[in-house]
Symmetry: C2
Subunit: 387 residues, 2 copies
DNA sequence: CGATTAACTCAAATCATTTGAATTATCAAA
DNA sequence: TTTGATAATTCAAATGATTTGAGTTAATCG
């Protein structure tokens, strides 16, 4: 009979927790700030912010960065995140390999690793993963006591759906509580997400969207994914499966990811007798201005225009970011050649951001994004997400 | 230099405010509950809930509904919203008319009115609107002291966009701060939204989605709109223009709203020599199983399938609700004949809700939805939305 | 009928923020 | 160079809300 609430009640303890996060969030967003400025931004008193900052400094989360004189008055002591104040583990599980990265609180990867897999059975994956985590901690011992959590990216869709088997699901993972398994295997709080959402959060935490609270991210994985960030928060849908934009039909027939994905370009190039197994091969072909690749790009740009039209009109983002497992040169080519739909709510003369841009993260976007999910939760996410 | 925060800091006063809202939200969702149950749901103590409920009762927001014995122990006093405890004004501005409705806190319309307009100039609209508000207050005098705010629905898109003039924009309203104008004209706090978002919130507050936190609403206005509710909150996009789904291209050519909208059916019927000016006419034609109308319905069902495919795969909603300015019989027909896409993340064998359903609200959906936006804010919205 | 259970109330304790006064360091004008 | 204004910061006390713990009341169960 009880209605499960979308929010918990508040008390002094939870207020403090929330304010701590908010202060950390302000510091992260600003790079370095003084206490009074944080207080103004959060509508708190400087006294409160002073108390919280003293605590955070004590905990090793913040560093003093010297005073900054700005006009009259006592110069404010500037505070910045201590990169070594906290670490997040990012994990990306693919059918053939596991990627792991350890990120510090500044969002920089301090270790990265790729472990080849012989199958995707949960036991196997979990064991490899725990081992990789152990190696990362050995390499960065000071992280051991300061782990904030682990973010894990897996091919969706999550939960039991009627399209299991059609997509890129992982064998053996359809009917298990993946989050609980991971949490137990590595002994950390876990956030589970799909690749596109994680990549989007990576851009939000330390990429091109760090000052753009509402944007969409088109992610080149095996297929094509969409990550939606609305007012700083991920829009994951009812079951975390939002963003399967690759499945939507194209005007000319077929699905979007038939024309716009890594599989798509690989198939196209194979047919043309120019197999391109990996990103490096694609990059070389592009540098050589390969005719078959340029053909694919023409069709892909058209598909991208369709995707933009759909995403912009449905979601009204400040910008659309393009990224994922594609050479930067090809992403740039797409960004430059795709024509922006005229009939779109995003077609605004007063726009402050380009409507389409390439993401900043490279090859490990999703892996780093997985860790970014943890950092996002630790550094200023709203209370509603904190349990 | 200061980074504007997505959340404010918390203090005792704001905690109390938040907890008041959360308690009201629980009461609304449950219909009638006891204090201990609310306390459990919100992770607060019964003492705290008791204090807040005493205050809310004092303010006339809650009514005692007698005790309910549930097993052992002292039977809990049940509390319910006092419908007369608060009122919200809902306003829908159309090019040719203004609709106004006064809703009580239970979500019921206590007055409704339609005022024909001779033009859409701001001065004219604001004057008519203030007059309509005055008449509503005269009819329900006890509302005067208990107004929670006004929700206003206008044709989008909001702000300056490159497609101004293409859509259903209102003349004279493109470059004005509509929210401020309305707030000044009627002396109430104002929420501005588009029709689809408001209609979605109406279903959330007192319609078929009252227990569905994540859903999409396909709204038949002049065109076709989409309202997205994610974990209880509207996804409005960067400029409040999210949901312009009518603009997206159809596989067969043209835009979605060319096949699926009131304008579409009116054009189709006019061409077929069976003009249908209003909803009543459409309803009569459907009752007569008019061949031309059935033709349109076939094409519309196909377009709806495309829309479902896009919305489900991008947003992963628990359900898609169909509603707006269409006869219920026609909406039902569409719900029954549209084939649900198989390749969709929403195709789940374990789904608890139908994937597609008709909305509960009738003709005044958007107007009542406008008021629902206010009620939503007053009854349990997260702190982040409260300024 | 007594024991148990659960809702509720009262008063005191607790926690975090706010308030108000005092201190310090810089800039700008005399 | 001096003086006054400005703004950041700290200290101690006050405030506001929740929590804690003990006690009361009214049901069900055995």
């Amino acid at each position: 009979m009880s209605v499960l609430p979308l929010q918990k009640g508040s008390n002094a303890e939870r207020s403090r927790f929330r304010n701590r996060q908010a202060v950390l969030g302000q510091v992260r967003a600003a790079g370095a700030v003084g206490r009074a400025e944080i207080a103004r931004a959060l509508s708190l008193t400087t006294q409160t912010v002073s108390n919280i900052i003293a605590e955070l400094k004590q905990d090793g989360m913040l560093l003093e960065k010297g005073t900054l004189s700005a006009g009259r008055g006592l110069p404010a002591m500037q505070y910045a995140l201590n990169p070594e104040g906290g670490y997040a583990l990012g994990i990306e599980v693919r059918p053939d390999a596991v990627f792991a990265a350890l990120l510090d609180m500044a969002g920089r990867a301090v270790t990265t690793e790729r472990v080849a897999l012989r199958g995707s059975a949960p036991q196997l994956v979990l064991a490899e993963l725990a081992a990789a985590y152990g190696r990362a901690l050995d390499a960065v011992p000071q992280a051991r006591a300061r782990m904030l959590g682990a973010g894990i990216v897996m091919p969706g869709p999550f939960g039991v759906t009627g399209i299991t088997g059609l997509g890129s699901d992982l064998d053996g993972w359809q009917a298990v509580d993946a989050e609980a398994l991971f949490a137990e295997a590595i002994g950390l709080p876990v956030v589970l997400s799909n690749d596109a959402n994680a990549a989007a959060m990576a851009e939000r935490i330390s990429g091109v969207a760090s000052e753009i609270p509402t944007f969409a991210y088109l992610y080149f994985g095996a297929g094509l994914g969409l990550g939606l960030v609305h007012r700083g928060e991920l829009v994951g849908g009812a079951h975390g499966n939002a963003g399967e934009i690759g499945h939507i039909p194209l005007p000319g027939g077929g699905r979007l990811e038939d024309a716009l994905s890594r599989l798509s370009v690989q198939r196209h190039m194979a047919k043309a007798g120019r197999p391109a197994r990996d990103i490096e091969a694609l990059e070389r072909l592009y540098t050589a201005q390969d005719a078959a690749l340029l053909d694919w790009l023409d069709a892909a740009a058209l598909a991208l225009e369709h995707a933009l039209s759909v995403v912009e009109n449905i979601f009204d983002p400040q910008t659309v970011v393009l990224g994922g497992a594609m050479p930067e040169t090809i992403l740039d080519h797409l960004v430059q050649t795709a024509r922006l739909p005229e009939r779109s709510v995003s077609n605004r003369p007063d726009a402050r951001h380009p409507r389409l841009m390439r993401g900043a993260s490279g090859r490990m976007t999703a892996t780093q994004g997985a860790a970014a999910l943890v950092l996002h939760r630790a550094l200023g996410a709203p209370l509603s997400q904190l349990g």
